[in-house]
Symmetry: D2
């Protein structure tokens, strides 16, 4: 009954198998191997477009690399006040942009509100030498409160941002969970919606360590700079095939969506079950694999006593994260303990 984080879960067996298959004979270093080329082709097909990809081993690395080619050192990234890049990456974006700013915006459920964006765009001009110009809008999908932006909500932010010549970054550490919820295509949730660069994460949903930065067509001319930054940050692994192989297996035969659906369903069942109880109140809607719920002390204690692992969130709620390997029995046990 470990709901601490999806990063505490083990890897799916298919990932390990893929490592075994990749471990045959010699292969070119630093990403020039055939496995990586194959996974790039998979991504092009799944996202229905030409694209470039750089594989990494952490979501923070992906986000920071993406921002490093989108935000000049004297410019600014707009993001939600709760954004992982703002709160949980120890300043990685500031480091990789070499001094860029992050401007925290606001809105319920960790979704940037169009008003907050409009206000920032009005207050921060992009042609005044004294003021830091906004250069990027970064959106988390699934976001830090476990919510997904609808396609309309994405449009209501991306359209005005693009009108001010901002680029759009999507932090997709839990991209597959959002995709499973929205039921749209990967293309619809990204480049067709105006996203320029996507951080795509497999680690939280079944991989050991496999993430990717996807450059959609308008950004492909930034690949050389991205590669230089990847090398310069120690993120260009000598034997890259073992990173891309994980992602290949994860994308194959819809495994990524199957695992996301499973985790989402577990979270939904947990969310519904807990929210129905006295002394429990959902803080955010449950769109993916995370449940944020305010629990009376006695209820929280009862759950912990029963062996349920979850975090006390800074806002006073409890966060439960379901993963690809959360079982029906786990959920039942928690709900039973709760009643």
């Amino acid at each position: 009954m470990n709901f601490l984080s999806d990063t505490t879960a083990p890897a799916h067996p298919a990932i390990l198998d893929a490592l075994g298959r990749a471990n045959e004979g010699f292969a070119p270093s630093y990403g020039a191997d055939p496995v990586s080329a194959r996974v790039k082709a998979q991504l092009c097909e799944l996202f229905e477009t030409d694209l470039d990809v750089v594989f990494t081993t952490s979501g923070t690395a992906s986000n920071a690399l993406a921002l490093s080619v989108l935000c000049p050192p004297d410019a600014m990234v707009l993001c939600h006040d709760e954004a992982h890049i703002h709160r949980d990456e120890r300043g990685a974006p500031e480091f990789f942009t070499k001094g860029g700013k992050l401007l925290p915006l606001h809105g319920d459920h960790a979704k940037i509100s169009p008003d907050s964006l409009a206000d920032a765009l009005k207050q921060w001009p992009n042609d005044f030498v004294h003021a830091t110009p906004p250069a990027v809008l970064s959106l988390s999908q699934l976001n830090e409160s476990g919510c997904a932006y609808s396609l309309d909500e994405l449009d209501a932010l991306i359209r005005p941002a693009k009108a001010h010549e901002l680029h759009i970054h999507m932090d997709g550490a839990r991209f597959s969970n959002a995709l499973a919820t929205l039921g749209c295509s990967p293309a619809e949730m990204t480049w067709k919606a105006g996203v320029d660069i996507l951080s795509l994460g497999a680690t939280k949903n079944g991989a050991m360590a496999s993430e990717a930065v996807l450059l959609f067509p308008d950004m492909q001319d930034r690949l050389p700079r991205l590669l230089a930054n990847q090398k310069r940050a120690g993120l260009m692994l000598p034997k890259m095939r073992y990173v891309s192989a994980q992602m290949g297996a994860w994308l194959e035969d819809e495994l990524w969506l199957d695992l996301a659906r499973k985790a989402n369903a577990a979270a939904k069942r947990l969310s519904d079950g807990l929210a129905a109880l006295e002394g429990a109140e959902l803080v955010h809607p449950t769109h993916g694999n995370e449940v944020f719920i305010r629990l009376e002390d006695s209820l929280a204690a009862r759950l912990r006593d029963a062996g349920a692992g979850f975090y006390s969130w800074p806002d006073g709620s409890a966060r439960f994260v379901a993963s690809w390997c959360t079982t029906e029995a786990d959920i039942s046990a928690v709900l039973e303990a709760a009643r």
Copy 2:
């Protein structure tokens, strides 16, 4: 007959097995897992001292992180002109130190000569506000010409550097190869010789992606800063157990030394065999798993025609790198083709 680089080789089966064993159930994230703790204990035992360790997935990451806690932004790292940190890391040390300088020193066979070091220490004062002060001496062991510093040679550099209050970094991307050659203990080649921080690499000698930064006792107070920098650089993997598990298996039962001895022996046989031929001349002594040899064009062509993969080095020589999986048959085939 692939001698392009030890990073083109696959991983040893024991590494894959270790990943399987580590992939059981839930585990704390970001390096707080029991696997990582166990490997730290292994390292303490092998290096005969208390130490702190941060696991990474590339040698460039290890070097850059190590230098990030040794060299202030307005100071300088002394290294050989051929050093990997100077030539092959796209400025990672400059990035991680946030603007530190690297001063190239000289000496045969990629070994810094004591005279070159003395000259630099004389020319660059450490108390003049206009000049960048030397803060670190970085030594590669095995070095970029495939040579190992003897313990006496290390002492002849480390002693004067320490007298000028420099810290000592060792780039041990091929540490096990040097260790196998010198036949000394890990402790003798590092902290007993005055090394403050070691970049220890397993990737080139049998792992998929497993490297470590070792802080010897005098440096342990720098761990918090090192961890912050690791996080900030996107190098703190969520599921770190899979990185440390590789190193654990590699260190177990002397596997690291066995593989290094095997690669070194293969390189030595190749080196001796080629050097005995007309039209071939060794450029550097073969202390580890790398052979640098000048080949007449016809000889080089013959080898390539026979399917031998090797790089033309900038100095005009050919570089052959043996790895843990280079076979006797590979060497025989090359030598046969050469004759």
Copy 3:
């Protein structure tokens, strides 16, 4: 009738005289000259303490240098959302701290409210490797809305900040204007209140280009790093005597206070006169030499037609800045035009 900014005003004649006096014969470079030493002694006497000083030629330089020795690259400065360091320095603090963050706090009249500070200190821990720790509280005195913190208000912010081990920076670009208003001593408004480093500005109040960073006793061990950063930023002028000489003249015989009192009085008369009119409403109290007032369009137009220069502020108000050379006649003319 130029009220655009105090930086559009010329220098006071005493400043030019001081330059003439400093221009005698040879003098050591880079701040080691006797003029600079004498001005340092003046500052020690006026601030009633030992201190170290570095002279600069812009307020942005002073602020950025101060923060460069207070905020590590992976840490954070807390400041008001309207702070000059956040809004008007094109990311200078981020550049000089090499990637530090600025967290915007809130409160009326550009004064940080104790609640906003408390909230930030609660939300941002200083011992969690994933989160950027707060390291500095920066306060502008006079602030960006032309208001002065009272000594009690300073205490209500500095005390909790220090309890969380933050250092305190004061942006004193208009320090003399605040001092004239509060009527306290320089010491009471700075180190006695807990301020660690002060950016002291003379440029806006009569100098050509003369600013200083003052390190109060607890910070004096940071002088070598501050000097290195000053040199490294191109801010260590070869002939520093001409910068310090300006400040010396400015501090002599209470000239700084006389000029501040004059500018403040002009602003107060303008503020009172305008606020008494139909169609005008003060936005902030007038504590120093700046007036922020909302003007009906017809009134604003009338003033501009009469030749009054002032800026339309982003919040919709009009900003009038009085300077040391604003005359009674200027004020009368504006008020006459307004009526």
Copy 4:
């Protein structure tokens, strides 16, 4: 008899007069004033081309700003091992380029030899992701050994550098001294020779603090970035008219050349006089206002006893710097003491 440095000299009276004239009434801030516009026009005329200019108050600032728009963070500046940017600016170029490298080249008399340049261009490719690409060639004119490159010597370096797509920076801290020696036009020594950006210094030759970064036509599109970097570095002075006014006076009626000729002539007389003595040997030819000469200990002592101020240079020689205010009597007194 102060020959320590041209930065120890006072300012020429014309400079002080110009400050007085500039100190009339209100003027727009941050360089938008009419004085600055007028000086820009002077520069265009003197350099016979359209150009953009940013005024600064130190040579280090000019060099660092220039390099900040020429060298990306992951690229490299080629310069002489003795270059001021490498030896004497505490890593300012590394700071402003955000981690760029400086590669020291070699050649007699602080002039880069064409062979050394060719070797570097061969060793450091500009299209290999692992290696830092050369982006800029920086040349000091007058250089750090007091020597001027002839126009042919400039061409022999600039031509191959441009063929490798490098940009050319000229450090002209003593530009006027070199110009006076070569007797060519400012245009011939800069953009007609292929120089992209010039750091032009007046401070060492009669100003208080006045330097400029000149962007020649091909670089004018980099002005917005240069201005942003200037602001961000605290180098955009609020009352810029006082900096540009100095340069205006300095350029007027050939004052810059008159002063340079005077200083050069003084140095030449000193150089010839000393070199004719027993126990004295010129180390470098005297092309400008600096004399580097090896003196027997007794001779050096005799000079010091007579009150001559000069520096002992790291290479064992004595450095004498003449300035615009060095008198015939000073030189005579030194030579008399020497005999």
